[in-house]
Amino acid sequence: MTMAKRSSSEAMAWLLFSAGGVVSALLVPVLLLLSGVLFPLGLLVPEHAHLAAVLGHPLTKVVLLGLCMLALLHWAHRFRYTLYDGLRLKRLSVPINLLCYGGALAGSVWAAIVLF
């Protein structure tokens, strides 16, 4: 067999995809339960000042930004392969990579603007 080169870009993309999957699976259900069910239904009523303090804390912002970035990179990797294999568009790999990873980058920048 011809020897292909070890691919560090694929390794990096997969590590970020994998990290995004883990972080999203752990944090997103908790955030959805709190902000989408428990708070709106009044089952859990946080004190406004307390909640504002938690959300205003730099550490919270960094964690949320990390979650947004990794979740978007997870999406980028999966959507890239959906387009490659699902729609058989691998010949368009350059624009697809730009769309997916560029989209994830743009979303991350947007998240940073909203958060900070």
């Binding site: 067999m1 020897m3 292909a4 080169k5």
Partner: protein
Amino acid sequence: MPDTITLQVARYRPDADAAPTTQEYVVPLREEWAVLDGLNYIKDRLDGTLSFRWSCRMGICGSCGMTVNGNPVLTCGTFLTDYAPGPIRIEPLANFPVVRDLVVEIEDFLRKLPAVKPWLVREDEQGVDDVEFLQTPAQLAEYQQYSMCINCMLCYAACPVYALEPDFLGPAAIALAQRYNLDSRDQGAHQRLDLLATAQGVWACTYVGECTSACPKGVDPAGAIQRYKLTAATRTLRSVLMPWAAR
């Protein structure tokens, strides 16, 4: 239960036919008969020109893999009664070129298999008399599952990535590489890394998981590939970030 069942068998003689055709045969429907027994009945009694591979009849040799009603299976382990009243559609394994009827060309797999060095690689080549490799049950359990592979290639027929990317190393070859990587007696993991951590190696896999569903021996090639992705990613990044560190 009826006494007979119809087999719709794909026929293709590349020298004579423009395209594959289907031929119907009526065979006895017996409780203890596998699909392979039905095919052998055709070969012996009805039509000696039908071609297919088989050998052991007991799920060990891995020769009789075919597509039965759309699924890749070993025909020796798939029973006619499971498909009664029929008809049963029997086609060659998908994703491989057809040589004749149900016989496929497996050259691609035979070329990829030795490339992953599926044997014990040692840095110190000691003679057989000088060395005894001891292994604990826990060390055996690390790789034993992957050693059950019989090279039947059902996982290649099931893999949608292999269908699209013929260069993909494929499920069985990667699972076999892991079988040796995880063996405490083996020292060849870094040699296999250069082949496995490529775009045609583990990175081509999108974790569809059909290989594991198709495997008749309970091997989990999809799991082996996923597990190896973490190894490949960390080793590759380490060599990029710390080029001075060996391997």
